[in-house]
Every structure is written in structure tokens, then in C-alpha cells.
């Protein structure tokens, strides 16, 4: 009758390749083509600058509430860079840079957060789901996509994103369990940014890591330095390859930090210290990656300036295009679009009613 330790098929590793001072572990350095490295750098900078521009537009009242991604560029872009175009990406609501990587246009992004449903349209060349606000709910959809991929014998993978807070939701656990049972080709990417609005990671779960939750569901889990794009990419590629080759699901916990507010409606000074934010600012994912690229002779100061300039132009053009669209005004009747494949009679009646109301409203307005 022994009492002994049970050996589990998986263990939980921690992976860091490029540390906050830009020191590199050459043994772990992934072999990433130069053009992909530079594309990642540009995407990280674009993510950062676009986020800054969104914040200023929001503060000016030109767009509505949104959740900034500042600080999480590496943890989402490193992951999504391991996908192929035909794979599925299932985001939560703080993966803007990753969505742009996947082909979401900046102007549609702006339109969405300016309150235009048109901005939610997923571009025809992407097979991704739109952002999901109900926390953790989307993880199950990735599992369903993965089930269908397996059923059809396709060589695709589904990757889903969620935060540390999501690991407290039942949907997350149900998704992990389902994926484990059926060995679904899905990659769970947790953006552990330390805060779920005002609740710190330590109050979200007693677990030492979030990655270890994988063990309970019979899949490998790894914790990575989420501000190290090389580590995130390496872990993601391993998980994506495993899923694609029939090895089943994985969980990746990216340890990162939400440098800004939960959303623009939130005031983080109420619940966290400036010192904590400053300490994380020193672990910014972008400067260390720039140093890495410079050390490899791939990126000079001048080249960074050129990328910054090009990004500025790209963002400005998107803002102008979005504002042009908004100037035309939101046709209220659009709200009846995309409700059903065919609009039922009741809704046709209501659409006519709204038309009459709008006509009466404009008549009353012109009567002054």
C-alpha cells in the first residue's frame, strides 16, 4: 500500500531567452528569419504607437472606451507570429496588435471603438473571430474550431487569447478540459498581465503559476517571459507545431504587464502603485528587442527612425480614413443589417417604424 508521488506526463517550464537588459541566451535563441524579426519589430512599434494614438483620440472624445495593450506587444505578437495565415485566431479584447498582424485594418479598428458596428467586420482574407468581451467565453470557440479542424483532417491550428482573470472563469476550465479529452489542435495563450481591473494576479488564483493549470487537463503548460518576444515565439511555435502534427493542445502563460489602464474608463492609481508600474516599465518588451536586433546588425538608429516615420504616416492615413467614414454619419437603419440571414417580418416592420421615426425627427429638427 504505498503512498508515493504520482508522476505526471507533463511538467511546467519557465522560458526566458532575451532578458530585460537585452542579454541573450544563445543556446535558446530561436532561428528566426531576418525578415520575420524585422516584421515583428515593426508590428510591436505599430502596436505601441497605434495604442498611444487611440488613447489620445479617446481623450479628445473622438473614439469611445477601449482597452490599451501597452506593454503586451511581445506577448501577443510573439504568439500570433507562430501561426500561418490559414490558422484560426480567437482573441479576447486586448490583442489589437495581434489582430493587426493577422490583417485587421487600422481604420476598422478605429471605427469599432468609435462605436460603428461596421468596424467589427472580419476581413475576408482572415479566418479569425472578432473580439470577445465576455471573459473566457471565446476559449470554447477555439476548441470547437479545433474539433472541426480535426474532424475535417485539416492541417490547421486554433489559437485563443485570454487574460489572467479569465483563468477563474468556468468557461476557461471547460475549454481546457474539452481540448484535453479530445486532443484538439488548439493553443491557449494566457496574457497574464498581472491585473484584472483592480484584482492582482495573486488574488485571482492561489496557483504558483497559471501554466500549471495545464497539468490538470493533461496537456503541456509553459510559463514564458511575455515581454521577451523570442521566448514567446519559441514557445508558441513549439505548441503550434505540436497541435498541427496531432500532438494536442497546450497552454502558454505569458508573464507580462498591463502598463496602462484596464480600459479608458478605469483609473489604475486607485489600486496599484507607481513604483510597481515603473519597475515593469524597465522590462518593456520593445527596447530589449531593438537592442537584440542592433546587436545582430539588423537595425540601426536611422532604421528605427524610418520605421517610426512610416508608422506615423500609416496611422495618420487610417485616422483620416476612419474620420472620413464617420463624417458621412452612421445610418441608423444599419442596425437592422446582419441580424439574420433573412430579416423576419417583425423586424421588417420595426425597420419601417424606425424609418418613420427618423423622418419625423428630422422634420421636427428642421421646424426648430
Amino acid at each position: 500500500m504505498p503512498r508515493k508521488e504520482i508522476e505526471l506526463p507533463h511538467r511546467v517550464d519557465y522560458l526566458s531567452i532575451l532578458d530585460e537588459n537585452g542579454r541573450l541566451d544563445r543556446d535558446l535563441e530561436p532561428d528566426i528569419p531576418e525578415d520575420l524579426l524585422l516584421k515583428l519589430h515593426r508590428a510591436m512599434l505599430l502596436g505601441r504607437r497605434f495604442d498611444e494614438r487611440m488613447l489620445s483620440l479617446q481623450r479628445q472624445g473622438r473614439i469611445g472606451t477601449f482597452g490599451p495593450i501597452k506593454g503586451q506587444e511581445a506577448s501577443q505578437l510573439g504568439a500570433v507570429a507562430a501561426l500561418q495565415g490559414s490558422d484560426w485566431m480567437v482573441p479576447s479584447f486586448r490583442e489589437g496588435a495581434a489582430e493587426i498582424w493577422r490583417g485587421k485594418s487600422l481604420e476598422s479598428f478605429l471605427l469599432y471603438f468609435a462605436g460603428y458596428d461596421e468596424g467589427a467586420r472580419v476581413e475576408d482574407n482572415r479566418s479569425d473571430l472578432p473580439i470577445a468581451i465576455p471573459v473566457a467565453s471565446q476559449t470554447l470557440h477555439a476548441v470547437g474550431l479545433g474539433y472541426a479542424i480535426k474532424y475535417r483532417g485539416a492541417k490547421q491550428v486554433a489559437m485563443t487569447f485570454f487574460g489572467d482573470g479569465a483563468t477563474s472563469e468556468g468557461d476557461f476550465h471547460e475549454a481546457m478540459n474539452f481540448a484535453g479529452v479530445f486532443q484538439i489542435p488548439v493553443v491557449f495563450v494566457c496574457q497574464n498581465n498581472q491585473w484584472a481591473i483592480s484584482i492582482p494576479r495573486s488574488r485571482q488564483s492561489r496557483s504558483e503559476t497559471l501554466a500549471q493549470k495545464a497539468l490538470a487537463y493533461g496537456m503541456p503548460g509553459i510559463q514564458v517571459d511575455g515581454n521577451d518576444v523570442l521566448a514567446v515565439y519559441s514557445a508558441a511555435l513549439e505548441a503550434v507545431d505540436r497541435a498541427r502534427s496531432g500532438g494536442g493542445p497546450s497552454l502558454i502563460e505569458c508573464v507580462t504587464y498591463r502598463m496602462a489602464m484596464h480600459t479608458t474608463a478605469d483609473d489604475p492609481t486607485r489600486y496599484r502603485s507607481a513604483a510597481e508600474v515603473e519597475a515593469w516599465a524597465k522590462r518593456d518588451p520593445i527596447p530589449r528587442f531593438q537592442k537584440y536586433l542592433a546587436d545582430k546588425g539588423l537595425l540601426s538608429e536611422d532604421q528605427i527612425a524610418a520605421v517610426e516615420d512610416a508608422i506615423k504616416v500609416e496611422i495618420q492615413a487610417a485616422v483620416e480614413e476612419a474620420e472620413q467614414f464617420m463624417k458621412a454619419g452612421a445610418d441608423p437603419l444599419h442596425m437592422f443589417e446582419h441580424m439574420f440571414a433573412e430579416l423576419p417580418a417583425t423586424l421588417q416592420e420595426q425597420r419601417e417604424e424606425l424609418k418613420r421615426e427618423l423622418a419625423a425627427e428630422s422634420e421636427e429638427a428642421s421646424d426648430g
Partner: protein, 326 residues
């Protein structure tokens, strides 16, 4: 008396009930250190400590399910679900248990809990932050659904909800949270759950509304009086379920005409129940078809179109005049 916003009045209700009754505990996401994302629970954790003002993990079903357990044990949990749309995560806990435990245990247990949650549009919010789906809860047997319309009745109703022996869904109109201030007495005040309120008397038509929509309804009544010489009787439902039909069926026996206003989708909405009761109880007094001025049967649009979706003063006035002309 102090002039308070609805947020402050709700905070006062919580503070006073917690002072008075140590069974009352508050739990939810960000209700402690952050004081709630709308600040309804501001200052409570400082006063009552983290065991009574519980910042929970991000798990609505857990918040509601554990509230049920606490209530069965004899506590009076007041849980907050940050936005009403996220209470769909805990739907089964309400339908399967909170509303049924009294019956399921054949009277042995009761679930005196309150689920507070902000609802409704008009604040330029993101998707899943503007719905008005009180009909889901109103349709559940064994559950009470309350929607205050102003600071004073919000405070009084919340105290009554906390003291109620049965589970209460307490929908807070977020568009009203800080929209205006009202005198709220420091001394305790309650308002019975299950009672509607006559807001103003009138003789030509009865307007029935609740929550955030009471305010455009009152403005419409003023416009009808000033511009059209029509006096409207206005009734604020306050409790959606169980619905008090005594006031409005009486009123319509007098006026012969009725318009129901709510921002939730029209079909199967609370307005449908109001109309049914009027048909059942005041049919022979009706002089015109009853009108509903409501949200459309749509996914609530993102905010650039929300004003076109929501009922407004003009729509209420036009519908009322059509009713009067019929």
C-alpha cells in the same frame, strides 16, 4: 436631507444596512479596493473590511453560486455583477437554484440574496455593456426583479431588497447613476418590493415606464401638457416582477388610453405583460389601441447608433398623440 446621485444613494443604502446587520456582506469583482467600477461600493472596504466587502476572482457564476450558499446559511449577500450582460455567466445559478431553493427544499431553506447589476444604454459603452434584458429575470418563477428610477427610490428599494426573504435581481439604470441628484433622507427609508408608484396624475392617457426610461417619459408628459394641452398620468413600475398591475389598470380605467415605454427589445418585453394585464383587466375601458415605445428586437448597436435605438421624448410624444387621436 442631502442631495445625492443614484450612486451615492445606493452607497448609503449599503452602508446603513451593513452597519445595522452583520449578516449583510458585499461581494463581486472590483467592489473592494476599487470601490466598484461605478463606485457604488466606494469606501465600504475601508469601513467594513475585506471579509465583508469581498473582491472576488473573475467568476460570475462563482459570485452568484457562493452567494446562494451564504444566503442559505443565513447571511444576506449583496453581490454585484459588473454589467448585466455578464450575469448570463451565472444564469443557471439563478434559474436552477436561487429562484428554486425555497421550493426545492419545500420551505426548509430560503435564499435572501440580492444581485445588483447596472443595465441599459446611453453611456457610449462597448459591446455587452448596454443591454436591457430584465425580461429574462422577470420570466423566472421564484425571483423578484426590481428597477429603480431615481436616487431616492433606489436607496429605499435596495434596503427593502436586502431585507426581502427571497432573491432579488436589482437592475440599476447606469444612465441615471450620475445624471441628476435628488434629496435623500439620512434616516432610513424603505419602499415595498412589488409596488408601483404614481408619479403624476393626469386624465387623458396613462404612460407606464420604469428605470432610465421614466425620465424621457416625464419630459414627454411635460411636452404633451405644454404644447398639446394633454395631461398624462405617469406610473413608474419599480418592480418588474412580480408586477403590480393595480395602479396602471385602475389608471387606464380612468384615462382609457395607455402607452408603455421601455428600452429593452419590444417582443416578449415587460411592456407585453403590461399590455396583457390591461387587456385582461381594463379591456372595456380602452378607447384606443395600446402603444409600446421600446427598443427594437435587435442586438444593441455600438454607440454611434444607440440614440437611434433608444426611445426618446419625441417618440413617446408621437406615440401618445397617435393613441389620443385613435
Amino acid at each position: 436631507m442631502a442631495k445625492m446621485t443614484m450612486v451615492q444613494a445606493l452607497n448609503l443604502a449599503l452602508r446603513q444596512e451593513m452597519e445595522k446587520d452583520d449578516r449583510v456582506i458585499v461581494l463581486g469583482q472590483d467592489v473592494g479596493v476599487d470601490g466598484g467600477v461605478f463606485r457604488v461600493t466606494e469606501g465600504l472596504i475601508e469601513k467594513f473590511g475585506p471579509e465583508r466587502v469581498v473582491d472576488t476572482p473573475l467568476a460570475e457564476s462563482a459570485i452568484v453560486g457562493t452567494s446562494i450558499g451564504m444566503a442559505v446559511y443565513g447571511l444576506r449577500p449583496v453581490c454585484e455583477i459588473q454589467f448585466s450582460e455578464f450575469s448570463y455567466f451565472n444564469f443557471h445559478q439563478i434559474e436552477g437554484h436561487a429562484s428554486r431553493l425555497r421550493h426545492r427544499s419545500q420551505g426548509r431553506y430560503q435564499v435572501p440574496m440580492v444581485l445588483r447589476t447596472p443595465y441599459g444604454g446611453g453611456v457610449r459603452a462597448l459591446e455587452h455593456h448596454s443591454d436591457s434584458r430584465e425580461a429574462f429575470w422577470a420570466h423566472m418563477a421564484g425571483l423578484k426583479t426590481v428597477i429603480p428610477s431615481g436616487p431616492r427610490n433606489a436607496r429605499a428599494l435596495l434596503i427593502s431588497a436586502i431585507r426581502d426573504p427571497d432573491p432579488v435581481i436589482f437592475y440599476e439604470p447606469k444612465a441615471v447613476y450620475r445624471a441628476f441628484r435628488e434629496e435623500v433622507p439620512e434616516e432610513e427609508e424603505t419602499f415595498p418590493i412589488g409596488k408601483s408608484r404614481l408619479v403624476q396624475e393626469g386624465k387623458n392617457v396613462t404612460l407606464i415606464a420604469y428605470g432610465a426610461m421614466l425620465h424621457p417619459t416625464l419630459q414627454a408628459a411635460a411636452e404633451l401638457r405644454e404644447k398639446h394641452g394633454v395631461t398624462a398620468e405617469v406610473i413608474d413600475l419599480l418592480t418588474i416582477s412580480p408586477m403590480d398591475d393595480a395602479l396602471f389598470t385602475d389608471s387606464v380605467r380612468k384615462t382609457g388610453r395607455a402607452v408603455v415605454i421601455h428600452e429593452s427589445p419590444r417582443s416578449f418585453g415587460p411592456g407585453a405583460e403590461v399590455v396583457a394585464r390591461l387587456v385582461e383587466k381594463s379591456f372595456y375601458y380602452l378607447q384606443a389601441p395600446i402603444r409600446r415605445v421600446t427598443g427594437y428586437d435587435l442586438i444593441f448597436p455600438l454607440f454611434s447608433r444607440e440614440n437611434a435605438y433608444l426611445p426618446n421624448v419625441g417618440r413617446i410624444v408621437r406615440a401618445t398623440r397617435e393613441t389620443l387621436a385613435a
